[in-house]
Symmetry: C2
Amino acid sequence: MAAVAEVTRWRLLLMGWGDLGVYGEPSRETPNLDRMAAEGMLFPNFYTANPLCSPSRAALLTGRLPIRNGFYTTSGHARNAYTPQEIVGGIPDSEHLLPELLKEAGYVSKIVVGCCCSELWGVPVLCGVPEVSSVPISRHLGHRPQFHPLKHGFDEWFGSPNCHFGPYDNRARPNIPVYRDWEMVGRYYEEFPINLKTGEANLTQIYLQVMGAWAGQPWGAGRSACGWRRTVCSPPQEALDFIRRQQAARRPFFLYWAVDATHAPVYASKPFLGTSQRGRYGDAVREMDDSVGKILRLLQDLRITEDTFVFFTSDNGAALISAPKQGTNGPFLCGKQTTFEGGMREPAIAWWPGHILAGQVSHQLGSIMDLFTTSLALAGLEPPSDRTIDGVSLLPAMLQGQLTDRPIFYYRGNTLMAVTLGQYKAHFWTWTNSWEEFRQGIDFCPGQNVSGVTTHTQEEHTKLPLIFHLGRDPGERFPLSFASTEYVDALGRITPVVLQHQEALVPGQPQLNVCDKAVMNWAPPGCEKSGKCLTPPESVPEKCSWPH
Amino acid sequence: MAAVAEVTRWRLLLMGWGDLGVYGEPSRETPNLDRMAAEGMLFPNFYTANPLCSPSRAALLTGRLPIRNGFYTTSGHARNAYTPQEIVGGIPDSEHLLPELLKEAGYVSKIVVGCCCSELWGVPVLCGVPEVSSVPISRHLGHRPQFHPLKHGFDEWFGSPNCHFGPYDNRARPNIPVYRDWEMVGRYYEEFPINLKTGEANLTQIYLQVMGAWAGQPWGAGRSACGWRRTVCSPPQEALDFIRRQQAARRPFFLYWAVDATHAPVYASKPFLGTSQRGRYGDAVREMDDSVGKILRLLQDLRITEDTFVFFTSDNGAALISAPKQGTNGPFLCGKQTTFEGGMREPAIAWWPGHILAGQVSHQLGSIMDLFTTSLALAGLEPPSDRTIDGVSLLPAMLQGQLTDRPIFYYRGNTLMAVTLGQYKAHFWTWTNSWEEFRQGIDFCPGQNVSGVTTHTQEEHTKLPLIFHLGRDPGERFPLSFASTEYVDALGRITPVVLQHQEALVPGQPQLNVCDKAVMNWAPPGCEKSGKCLTPPESVPEKCSWPH
């Protein structure tokens, strides 16, 4: 099967480190992912690039920290920012995205995203995955067709540019559209129903299966034949279908598959509802795990496993505040939005039978940005040499068991909050959420107040960082004594690495400062065919609000 | 190999649920136990019988709750009690111990214990495993030879009746003896050195290997030939040796192997010191894991794996307050001494190639007391019918995948603190540690204050229990709303089970109320041969102090 080259498959959600059985989730409801790990390589020390989805996904597709690629805000000190519907900025055109580069090696790329991938400024990137209580995300593509994702590297697109928040009234705020390639094919809560009471929705099945059934069908026919009105597509043959088509044509392919079922409001399709020991969140995890199993089985059926590199990870830690109070970051402190381990350490599994030996564990400090560099290496390509690339290739770790010494930087906005080097993590700033949010009932570290460590105000420690040994104390509960030799030694190793990083840093233009209700999903391309065009309000650019 | 029957092998320590790679420990340093799980059955919902070692081990060997077998105190409400050196009470003669019963089926039994197994009142039971800051444990056998463990079911004994606390001055408090069968062969910090500065000690190797080298050798020769003076026995051939001898003689055997290396003060032998990412505690875990691997490999080499049932578990959750602040209970709340999940849910792996299918996970609610009943079933024996046995046989779960509905009761002293039924856990009392201890720096839930849940005083909830759904909320952070239908339904199921339990309960005579310095390890049998006899003080029985 030499003609079929590597797949890189990512699944990025707010699933936590501890949500997989293989990472210790007590209910053990992810048999497919656990098997994937048993057949591949597990990375227990793998990090996302930001404790929030949009910047993390921008980092994934560019191989660069958000502070470089522009996916941050300067509107408040150390504030997390993402891409709500009204965001004006986006990934700068000057950034090279992975699918663009892979095209040089003949790769066909597809993006299947359920939640939050925004193609602001024309590139299919980032996925605002805010908390359930926050402002819903969206993007402004409808009236800016020149920025369509298929013009920026991806050859196919199915899914939504934003998360499935709503339902909205289509007056103050439009419902989020769902696209098939160039055009909107419906909106959440309209053509793509989610029953918020029962939690039933077929979206994960649709993202896995429905595209094949839709192929070549006009909008109306697709809708009725394919059953995203709560019936199952027959025959079910998607994300799946993309793989089959590329394999049949002997084309190398890159599939970026990111469903959103575990994001609040949590849903699952009927066969999975009520089947988990963990409640509705567990139902969603089970359906996602089942889908992963179906994708891997297809690769096996097609006999292309040895030519297909598959990677599983997430874009931030479990959002511990989400409605059903589920999702778990295992032994780690706090969750999404924070730069403690619970916010940024992610499940990560590499699977490539015949190349990666089964049952391996790598202690390589890994980053979501490594997927950029690793994917290029798999395609025989070099990363761009005209800019700093933060990702490193994981091939030495995966194929030769080598470990590369490299730092992990933890940012909020343009503030370097923390750094990990080897086993030592130094916090220069600590902040979970604001007292204001905490008093409202928003707690990013429920039941995890560590005195002097978790804070509801921004606390500066730059002169005397809090340092933890993550091997002995993965839960970040016992800072090293400032007076200890170990502290002095660790700080002595960390300081020059941070100084070097900061001296060389050229921040990108901050893209997440300005919002405008006029750029929301009022009239996406294709809306006219289904009578779904809405009238945008007058443009009033304003500073976005980033409360945490 | 029909002549060789089942082994039941237990290893019981203060290791936490989260300390094994297979349960999600990030450093993944237990490859042998992880492989054991991959080849066997993992129990994610397995419980000890008490959040403290002595009562748990009494329960293991009797199949009965401590409240029934007498291993509790009535000297304070809801107080944890164990067996320090000065304890007067012990397991009542009327209790039937597992090795006694197995003898009916021709089993040869050996107990290898590093820490804390006391044979008070003549039976080799329970192991006070107190915190590093607490009173060291011991037992009073030296001057009461009629209570020797070999008179009560076990055929061989190597190890210590108490933990390796010390060194002591042998005046106010004697150093803990180490026995070989009938006689003391030395004392900790004297013939069995532990370097508290470097953490070096060969004890785990000795417990694994040294007995064979000692076989048939007199005391002095054994000491010099076998190198528990920091050299390695040559040839190393123990716990191991017992298995080899029974297999050669085609005798069914029961080995109860419980090293103590992860107990504070933590130690490891030289080859393991400094090898872990987790510090010295990790070194100890690695050495223990390596020893398990050696035992399993021997069974494979002897080709008796299909006739040998092996079980791994622990006697209480990780003691989060221990010196190196290591050991982890994964996602669970608090640790040892508490009746939250972190104190009582344990790692548990069953291994029996050819009978238990590889890679299985059982959601059976299991108990350490089930090992009593399961072992009897394996030997073709019925449990005693003249008393209540709390353990159930795990054979249906292990061999047919069946699930038995049964409650788990959580006691402190004679107080029923909590009960789990299905996914619901109801707390009738909550208590972590006292404010006094907390102010001294003893914190059983470091960094885990859950408002209204973890308490430093005893809090009664008997009229309106705190109820958690352990599937959705394994960390016990979000009690169900008292007003919810789910709460009312859960309470409606739990109440009759608790009432039935309490109505039928016949508490045993409490054994852990009285202490006396005269009963400490002053003059164990054999002391005269090595000039190690000490003079006991005058007998002054007094009420034991149980601060938590």
